[in-house]
């Protein structure tokens, strides 16, 4: 079950030199052998979700277990495909499985096919591996929920859509998966829809994602107009020949899409609300997989951004801004899931930043995505374990001293804590420091943002850890009886805990070799030595952590203090993201719709109603001619006949 072990032990043996590989010759070959079964990846979770959702109550008993088996089955298929891929040489690894023709209109064709290359492969393993673990965890977490079957049906639907997103061979099919994960996210955030907050959060997430989706659809249309094709191979082959302005537009549209899905500025506001969903959902969708779809999109579209430097810089700016933005929010929130959501925003910001660096950063974006998928899922599952035992208490000011009652959760959570801060030799030390180094080699300010972000990350995670596990207990025994979670929940936490400790160490170096044929890879050049850079960032991490520990180790007041800095007030209010949206989009939008309604009811309806009133009035007068006297009708007939005859005679003359 351990994703990382299997992934890395074989990555290490790969012998292809990154610099020898030319990305342009890395074209997919038709699938054969094991690869012709890769449709099973999609079919298993689709089958699971279809059975669970269509059979209704009949599937209540065996449904959840079945869903778990389907995802684990997909993971096993993924492993087989991975081993088969390892057996190929680096340039022969991408395979394409054409399934059927979807749309054939004129010279437009949209085939349905799966493309599996090194990039898709790591996603497949991450999604099915972490997804499988979270399915297992949910068996315990959702044990007493009456709608457990529906929950697992939605989870399987999500896995299927996400796999479709990463294995699609065209932008159009990717869009289907893109919408599919949006739908699954909506259904799962609003899973407890009887809670108004959850229903509103689901709607908010869906609507804000729509804004980004418009970007993706515009990008696809532009691609079709420019290249006449929407398949990856078709677009990327033609990309270097297109005009830079077109590529810039496509790049910006793709960036908008990525911002929506990955909760980046300016479309970040939905992610914190999405925490209303069940915690396994937050772990799977809003931390490990779905929110990273934007990173996938940008890395996948590398050839487009190669031709659009302005769009690439915009990606970098968005990533750098969001990583600071999210970290500041995370540092001020009191809800444990809110802190983790801010953190997710910030960590995805790191990935986007790296993706905006070009070939210097692509590999590290995906590297950080993988390690983040593990340690953040681990942290969320830990938070879920705490909530599970604390009667859904989220407020960290009500925690404290949980180390004693939940020692196992404390252990796994601490591994995630060490991993995210980037303490050597744990996960983020490898992935995040690589991003910081790569950023400095491209742009000083991007690097500075990443460096400061690392300090703040360390601060808020230590704050969370200290408030939750150490100090005096601030919970009261009357309604909260913290206890360790059941084994079915502890097992995934243990696996992810180990993974978050070891993933960085195991993957470092190997991931560059593995991904370079797809994404390209260049070594960044730092003005100072790598060791010096690492020491600087480690200093930031230690200082941030130390400040938080010293400040919070004595415990915190149960009610949040009111006399705090303006920045804290703003950060508690999510840096006014919602207020901004309300002032800039919602109010003018309402004003616009109201004025449109006014114009519609007064002007448009006025014309239509006026015409009909005129016709009505006129016909009311004309009606008077119908007197009912037969003789007057006869007279009018005579008059008509005379008129006709006169007319005929006049014409004849």
């Amino acid at each position: 079950m351990n994703l990382t072990n299997s992934l890395t032990s074989f990555l290490g043996s790969a012998t292809i030199e990154a610099s020898n590989v030319d990305p342009t010759v890395n074209l997919p070959v038709a699938a054969s052998g094991v690869f012709s079964f890769m449709w099973l990846l999609l079919a298993l979770p689709v089958l699971g979700s279809a059975l669970l959702l269509l059979l209704g109550k009949r599937a209540d008993k065996w449904g959840p277990i079945f869903a778990v088996l389907m995802v684990c089955g997909a993971f096993v298929v993924g492993l087989f495909l991975y081993f088969a891929m390892l057996a190929e040489s680096a340039n022969d690894r991408p395979v394409n499985l054409h399934m059927w023709d979807w749309i054939l209109v004129g010279n437009f064709e949209a085939p349905i096919g799966m493309q599996l290359d090194q990039l898709s492969m790591v996603f497949v393993l991450l999604i099915t591996g972490v997804g499988g673990l979270i399915h297992i965890y949910s068996l315990g977490y959702m044990k007493d929920d009456p709608d457990k079957r529906k929950f697992f049906g939605y989870l399987n639907l999500f896995i299927a859509a996400m796999l479709l997103l990463v294995t699609a061979d065209s932008y159009l099919l990717l869009y289907v998966g893109w919408e599919g994960v949006g739908l699954a996210s909506y259904l799962l955030v609003g899973f407890w829809q009887y809670k108004p907050a959850a229903a509103v959060a689901a709607k908010k997430a869906f609507v804000m994602n729509r804004v980004g989706d418009v970007g993706l659809s515009i990008a696809i249309m532009l691609m079709f107009v420019t290249f006449g094709s929407v398949t990856f191979t078709g677009v990327f082959d033609a990309a270097p020949g297109a005009s830079e302005s077109t590529m810039t537009w496509i790049g910006f549209a793709l960036l908008l899409a990525a911002c929506g899905k990955s909760a980046q500025l300016p479309l970040q506001a939905w992610l914190l609300d999405a925490m209303e969903g069940p915690t396994p959902v937050s772990a799977l969708i809003h931390a490990a997989t779905m929110v990273t779809a934007g990173v996938y999109l940008i890395v996948r579209s590398g050839p487009i951004f190669d031709a659009a430097p302005a769009a690439r810089d915009a990606v970098m700016v968005v990533g750098a801004a969001t990583l600071i933005f999210g970290a500041i929010i995370g540092a001020a929130k009191d809800g444990i899931k809110d802190v983790l959501a801010g953190s997710t925003m910030s960590q995805v910001g790191y990935m986007i930043l790296a993706a905006g660096l070009g070939p210097v950063g692509y590999v590290f974006a995906i590297f950080h995505l993988l390690t983040h998928g593990m340690f953040k899922a681990n942290l969320f599952l830990g938070a879920g374990s705490i909530m599970h035992s604390m009667h859904d208490q989220l407020n960290m000011r009500r925690f404290g001293a949980l180390r004693k009652v939940m020692f196992f959760t404390f252990l796994t959570f601490s591994s995630g804590w060490l991993a995210i801060m980037g303490v050597p030799p744990f996960s983020a030390f490898y992935s995040k420091d690589k991003i910081i180094e790569a950023s400095f080699s491209v742009n000083f300010w991007g690097g500075l943002a990443a460096l400061v972000g690392a300090g703040i990350t360390s601060f808020y995670m230590t704050r969370l850890w200290t408030m939750t596990f150490t100090g005096k207990a601030r919970w009261t025994e009357d309604n909260q009886h913290p206890h360790e979670s059941p084994k079915v929940m502890l097992f995934p936490m243990a696996v992810l805990g180990l993974a978050s400790l070891a993933a960085g160490f195991l993957l470092a170096g190997a991931i560059e070799t593995w991904l370079a044929p797809v994404t390209g890879f260049e070594e960044g050049h730092l003005p100072i030595s790598s060791l010096a850079m690492e020491s600087i960032s480690l200093t930031f991490v230690l200082v941030g952590g130390a400040i938080a520990y010293l400040q919070y180790r004595r415990g915190v007041p149960i009610t949040p203090p009111q006399h705090v800095s303006a920045l804290t007030v703003a950060a508690r209010d999510e840096l006014y993201g919602d207020a901004f949206n309300e002032a800039v989009f919602m109010r003018p939008g309402q004003w616009l719709t109201r004025s449109l309604v006014f114009v519609d009811s007064k002007a448009i309806d006025g014309i239509v109603n006026g015409t009909s009133a005129a016709v009505g009035g006129l016909s009311g007068r004309l009606r008077r001619i119908q007197t009912g006297f037969a003789r007057s009708y006869a007279l009018s007939m005579l008059a008509g006949a005379v008129l006709l005859i006169v007319a005929l005679i006049l014409v004849r003359m």
Binding site: R623, R624, Q626, T627, G628, F629, A630, R631, A634, L635
Partner: protein, 99 residues
Amino acid sequence: MTTEHYVVLSAILFSIGVFGVLIRRNAIVVFMSVELMLNAANLAFVAFARQHGNLTGQTIAFFVMVVAAAEVVVGLAILVTIYRTRRSASVDEPNLLKY
């Protein structure tokens, strides 16, 4: 007697019929006026038929007579019904079908 005479007579008869329809209230008289108009037309048909030396006009005259007879049957039936309900044969009385 030339065709012209017949046509003038036909026009006079037709005009009398028209005025009868327009002026008289009694439905029977209106009917008779309609018959007068029909027969005025018949007269013109026959006169022209004779002038042209073919039978088309004659044939149409027979058609008109047959249609007129059928019309009288239906018309008189309606008239009798109206008289039964209203005790009057005036054409101005039944004027309910109006605006």
